[in-house]
């Protein structure tokens, strides 16, 4: 088997940035038609590895490699011109952000033909035909007419298809996909992964799939390389790496992710302590030793080579030979404290709506956009209510109305039976607090950590300066932040530390309810596990009630006692988590659950059940909002809006489950 791509000892350095060395001694090879997954957390060097292969490194970067060969050609020796010719024709790449990777000023057809003409001697007419073929290949309907469309006329999923068509128009032998589905909703992600897998088979090209998502790697690739701090720490056939991870990092990473049905509800996840070290200078020895539970004295001094454990598998760990069966979870003592008892409703939404009037133009009627459309929801004391749905379903708008910082346009919010409108802002603040998604935006960059956490106390005039400071330090310790960070600014903290600050600020006044809006979606999986464990622990200690908003079903399944599924501003199904996840009733819930990719190699990518993406125009019209995408739509779904009815322990809004009249 001759290798298509051979990489040996690849290094990327940024000499101007204080000796930043983000890719260190990376070696792998890829046979024609093979799929390789490169998996790792942000900042591990996986994207720079891909850019180094493509010769697309940013200015200031230096690449050196013992051997960098593509189809027998030495990439480090060929001219820029020859490299540019190779790129796009023989090797192609697709990027993460479909919204910005297409030029908004040109039509799709123009951009596709441009790529083709750049590499092939062909007439404009032939290029046009090939462009239509390529769009057909990626499953876009009416390919001929699509060529005249501009990027803004397409949805995110469709744009990513166009990007794939553009990459494949010259039929390359190697496709590098860098986080191709990270910016997309889960149901769309499924379609794109399906497409990539099908094209890879049909065209017989090699695929390098770069992602942070272990589920995607497990389902799509044959071989996997795990990267940590610039190095490949483990490589081998996907199945055997997932079944028997040999490197402590791989094992810890697998323990970090909640898997519906496998990890127990509310049990602590195997978090990796600390954060990735800064990739500056010589780190010496094993890069993971500072976070490794098995670290020994021998791990520190000498660089650890990547040694072959068995044919096709290599590990960069001293312990791998003798270390086979440590306990599966990284031994977090599971002292399960008493679950808080579920009580009366604390926060309730009654026919809650929020609609925006879209501005009418000179020749346009103003439309009304129903972000949240008549939601009835009760948050019971002591529970964790998960709200799931794809982007644009109104979950964040709902959270802001429940917090009382966005006035509803219809319906009401009640706190302990009292109208939220009638309560003073400050009284609500003592009971209900929030943790937001973006740990970079939710802290004032001009204030110290201590001032940020102490702000609620200062605003409410609780205690004097000394007692406040004491309380802030206690709270910081509680959420796992060293007290010396109190004088730091937010920019000096890592993402995980900032989210801990946000949690400390929310809890410092000892509220009853915490609304968590995507608390971990901006974080790496190992840090996500730390934060989820912290939220669980704090809930038991303080007897808190959570409203957890997330697009990540695995996170909701792990944390929530009850779950509500939203689609286009409405709750379509709601019930106990175990019940809903075991036997989803609504077709949308079914499709959503089917698109969860658990890290189980061998399982195929599930067949996408839904067509098209979330339509915006369907909002507020008669009938079930989901019927245009529903695989089980009936005539009645177009005419009448389904009512929410009880079905067993759950409630569902679907004509399939309507009681017969």
């Amino acid at each position: 088997m001759s290798a298509l791509l051979e990489v040996d000892g690849l290094n990327v350095r940024f000499p101007a940035l204080g000796g930043l060395h983000p890719v260190r001694d990376v070696s792998f090879s890829l046979a024609a038609g093979e799929t390789l997954g490169i998996v790792g957390e942000s900042g591990c060097g996986k994207s720079l590895t891909a850019l180094a292969l493509m010769g697309l490194l940013p200015p200031g970067a230096e690449r050196d490699a013992g051997r960098l060969a593509f189809q027998g050609q030495h990439l480090e020796r060929i001219s820029d011109r020859a490299m540019a010719d190779l790129r796009g024709r023989r090797m192609a790449m697709i990027f993460q952000e479909p919204m910005t990777s297409l030029n908004p000023a040109y039509t799709i057809g123009n951009q596709l033909a441009e790529t083709y003409l750049r590499h092939m001697r062909a007439s404009r007419r032939a290029a046009r035909e090939r462009s239509a073929e390529a769009l057909d290949l990626v499953g876009l309907s009416a390919a001929g007419e699509r060529l005249a469309q501009y990027p803004h006329q397409l949805s995110g999923g469709m744009r990513q298809r166009v990007m794939i068509a553009m990459a494949l128009i010259c039929r390359p032998d190697l496709l590098i996909a860098d986080e191709p589905t990270t910016a997309l909703d889960v149901t769309i992600q499924l379609e794109i992964l399906h497409l990539l897998a099908r094209l890879q088979r049909e065209l017989g090209m090699a695929l390098v799939l770069i992602t942070h998502d272990l589920g995607i790697v497990a389902r799509v690739t044959e071989r996997v390389s795990v990267m940590y701090a610039g190095q490949i720490v483990e490589t081998g056939p996907t199945r055997s790496v997932f079944d028997q991870p040999a490197h402590p990092y791989t094992r810890a990473l697998l323990d970090c992710i909640p898997v519906p049905g496998r990890t127990a509800l509310g049990a602590p996840l195997g978090a990796i302590p600390g954060t990735v070290p800064a990739l500056v200078g010589d780190l010496g020895g094993c890069h993971f030793r500072g976070r490794c539970a098995q670290a020994q004295a021998a791990c520190a001094p000498a660089p650890i080579p990547l040694h072959t454990a068995e044919p096709g598998r290599a590990v960069r760990c001293l312990l791998s030979s003798g270390w086979k069966s440590a306990p599966s979870s990284t031994a977090l003592a599971s002292v399960v404290e008493a679950e808080p008892a579920i009580g009366a409703p604390v926060l309730s939404a009654v026919r809650l709506s929020c609609s925006y009037r879209l501005r009418a133009g000179l020749f346009r009627y103003g439309r009304t956009l129903h972000a949240v459309d008549g939601v009835d929801l009760e948050l019971l004391k002591g529970e964790v209510l998960g709200v799931v749905g794809e982007s644009g379903c109104g979950k964040t708008t709902l959270a802001r109305m429940l917090l009382g910082i966005l006035p509803p346009t219809g319906g009401e919010v009640r706190l302990d039976g009292q109208l939220l409108d009638g309560l003073r802002r400050r009284d609500v603040a003592r009971r209900v607090q929030a943790v937001f998604q973006d740990p970079y935006g939710s802290l004032n960059p001009r204030k110290t950590i201590g001032a940020i956490i102490g702000l609620p106390l200062a605003v409410h005039g609780i205690g004097d300066a000394v007692s406040r400071r004491q309380r802030v330090l206690e709270m910081m310790e509680r959420v796992g932040l060293p007290g010396r960070l109190a004088a730091r600014m937010p920019a000096q903290l890592s993402g995980g530390q900032r989210q801990r600050v946000a949690i400390a600020r929310a809890l410092v006044m000892q509220p009853d309810v915490v609304v968590c809006d995507e608390p971990t979606s901006a974080l790496d999986v190992s840090v996500q596990a730390q934060i989820l464990n912290l939220l669980q622990e704090l809930r038991r200690v303080f007897g808190l009630t959570y409203l957890l908003i997330s697009h990540n079903l695995a996170v909701v399944a792990h944390m929530a006692t009850r779950v509500a599924v939203m689609y286009l501003g409405r709750v379509v199904e709601e019930g106990p988590t175990a019940d809903v996840f075991a036997a989803p009733r609504h077709p949308y819930t079914q499709a959503l659950l089917a698109s969860v990719l658990t890290p189980e190699p061998g399982l195929a990518i599930p067949e996408p059940r839904l067509r098209g993406s979330v339509p915006e125009a369907a909002r507020g019209q008669a009938g079930c909002a989901f019927h245009p995408r529903c695989p089980a739509a009936m005539p009645v779904c177009r005419e009448r809006t389904p009512r929410v009815v009880a079905d067993g322990l759950a409630r569902v809004a679907c004509h399939l489950h309507a009681p017969t009249e």
Binding site: T275, A278, G284, Q433, G441, V459
Partner: protein, 302 residues
Amino acid sequence: MSASVPDIEGEPARNQGPVARARQHPVLLVGIALFTVIALAALLAPVLAPHDPYAQDFTQRRVPPVWYAWLYGSPKASWLHPLGADNLGRDYLSRLLYGTRLSLLIGLAVMTASGLIGSTLGIAAGYFGGRVDLAVNLLLTTRLSIPLVLVALAVVSLFGGSIGIIVAVLGLLLWDRFAVVLRSVTMQVSRQDFVAAARVIGCSTPYILLREILPNILAPLIVVATVEMALAVLLEAALSFLGLGVQPPEPSLGLMLAEGKNDMFFDAWMITIPGVVLFVLVLAINLIGDGIRDLMALDRTT
């Protein structure tokens, strides 16, 4: 573990204080040095001025500056009038000191007045949006459709050229840039989650505006303020040059230029000296603005 073990927490070094960072910024230092010299000279004008700036001495008309004695052997030039005397025999150095004082005073007053108007409007429009934004935009477009110099000329010629009138007119005309810039940065900042977090905590709207938002928009505010101050100094000079600003016998940099222009082919120093002072003053203000903008930029390295 050994000392070579990297800091796993990866905590970056503590931020340097603003003073320490200012020391490494030569542009800002030059700006501050120039401005300090000019401002001190203006402040201490009564002490520093060798003569009464209004006193005319017809025996000393058009005496050139002292260096004319060294360079050209001019018999009249002497240390009695280091920068010479104007066509009415008034000491040029004394007039320059008092004139700079007036220019600086007008610049600062106009900047403060227009800054208050513009930033209040801009912040309100950016934070509240909706109707407030529409109203501010209407005011702004109205203001932008008014030709600045023409209106200033008209008002000053109607009501006379007292310092108060000049400050009022320029203050009411120069707020547009404050409003435009602060509206857009306030909009950006108030969309961030920390503002939502402050509301959830129960902070009042004035608190949010002053304590959460203002510190984050201070950098553009200061930059606009310096640009506007430089512009106000120049506009005052222009109005005075046209005879509609500061009225004689009050000295101002613009008026000195105007009075010197008749003699500029014979006694070029008469316009060179106030011209250079005006140039250096405006330059210093702009350098300070640039420097402060750089200093207040947040480290977004992590």
